[in-house]
Amino acid sequence: MATILSVRDLRKTYASGFEALKGVSLDIEQGEILALLGPNGAGKTTLISTICGITGMSSGSVTVGGHDILSDFRVAREMIGLVPQEITLEPFERVWNTVRFSRGLFGKKRDDSYLEEILRKLSLWDKKDSAIKELSGGMQRRVLMAKALSHEPRVLFLDEPTAGVDVELRKDMWEVVNGLKADGVTIILTTHYIEEAEAISDRVAVISGGEILLVEDKADLMRRMGQKQLAVQLTEPIDAIPDALSDYQLEQSGDGHVLIYTYDTRADRTGITRLLNDISAAGLVLQDVQTRESSLEEIFVGLVSGEAA
């Protein structure tokens, strides 16, 4: 597949001196859905804003469809649509007017039937003559989406498209996104939610502290994220793990008081019952048992320290 968006060693230092992007490189394939996953303040919005020309870059380069976003910005930007994180719309404007404005702004010829199609797809057609302020938050977010789609972009950025959107609407949104993908639109969306990335993306990029920590096929990443840990606390510490338990690849911690077993929640059998049986068969006495799921945050930490190692 062809690369449609290429980011090379992108750096951004804000006027405050804060470096929000520390050399980001990323290639996005034509027609894929990439989820940009990261905690608050990771630099997701900064990355998108820089690519879209809202924020100036400090160094690096970005090309869209082979066009540099600085030297060839007209062609590059025509290809890009953006749904910003915050809802920013003129409250007194009518839906139809704002969407038509967006299309004109991007230099596209007037095409009312195309705009009608978009508004229908986003269930906004019956609201076309309403003022923005008369719409609910979820509808307003869809208006932003309609604006972004009004000029037929090839690459669409969705900065937290489902923030503050109810479950029902979230599904609708995903449906629209999938429809766009079917039309060959490349989609980059940011999210805090693993489930969201899981539901619609092809690949996942994890960003934290202004650095891309990994870009991975969704399926592979989900396998990794699906891991859970069982901590078995013993009444007496042990020096070494008994041979009978060697199959479980246990780790020891807490001065030998605790055995940690890592397992995949998606596997048919987690092996917990067998492990507990084997532990008592080995003559060890249990004091307490805990399980914990690795949170997204921990996975980030794990990724960062993994990189350092």
Partner: protein
């Protein structure tokens, strides 16, 4: 040049104007009428003629200028400040347009609105006084140039402003006094020599004088100076805008 984008911005801004058309037009008409009642009737009855023109007619050019200048500044300033304020500015920054298209779109719309209001005031004033325009083409040219140059100034103010207070500060603190002291309602030659001297540092004097010349054929300063002043002012504004465009000042983080 992305002409479709310019048209989109222009139409969007004009639709805002049309949506509030009655408000937009009624207030200048009422205030003009008030000026005629106060200045024309009350004061004018004591001043017979200024430079061979009845006082009521004499104040018309200044009155038109006063409105046109403040309208140009406030509508261009508001036009560009509002998207920054509510956050829709992101769309302008991400569109395949340069700063030039943004300026032409917003300044063009603001100047058009001011021009409409200026013409309306002119028409209103004809109900109050007998008015003949000696150089109609020059009059129109002065009017259009003033609308454009002050819309450019308003645009700069709108980019610069970080609050609505700042947006209103310059027109209120700088422009209105300059216009009032710029011979809108009197001839500079009516002032004592010292104040006459001071007045010649006021750029608005040149504009109003030139504009008045196009009506009555007489002026405080030679028409050439007026043209030079307005050209210089426009060039200055364009220079500042070019600089803003180059540096991205107050536009991009």
């Amino acid at each position: 040049m992305n002409w479709r984008a310019i048209r989109a911005i222009y139409q969007f801004e004009m639709s805002r104007f049309y949506r509030t058309l009655t408000q937009s037009l009624i207030s200048p008409v009422i205030s003009t009428s008030l000026y005629f009642v106060v200045f024309g009737a009350a004061i004018g009855s004591r001043i017979q003629e200024v430079e061979g023109v009845s006082y009521g007619a004499f104040i018309v050019p200044g009155l038109v200028m006063l409105s046109v200048m403040t309208q140009s500044i406030s509508s261009a300033g508001f036009g560009i400040y509002f998207p920054k304020f509510i956050g829709t500015f992101y769309e302008l920054l991400s569109a395949p347009i340069s700063f030039l298209e943004i300026v032409v779109g917003y300044v063009g719309a603001a100047a058009t609105k001011a021009l409409i209001i200026g013409v309306l005031i002119l028409i209103t004033s004809m109900f109050f006084v007998d008015l003949s325009i000696v150089h109609p083409i020059a009059m129109l040219a002065f009017l259009v140039l003033t609308c454009l140059s002050f819309a450019l100034l308003g645009f700069i103010i709108g980019i610069w402003a970080r609050s609505f207070e700042q947006l209103q500060m310059i027109p209120l603190l700088v422009v209105t006094p300059l216009v009032f002291l710029g011979g809108s309602f009197y001839s500079i030659s009516m002032l004592p020599p010292f104040w006459q001297g001071i007045s010649f540092f006021n750029p608005v004097v040149y504009l109003i004088s030139g504009f008045r010349w196009s009506f009555f054929g007489t002026s405080d300063v030679p028409v050439g100076f007026s043209l030079l002043a307005i050209a210089g002012f426009t060039a200055l504004c364009l220079g500042v805008i070019w600089w803003i465009f180059r540096t991205g000042w107050r536009l991009r983080d």
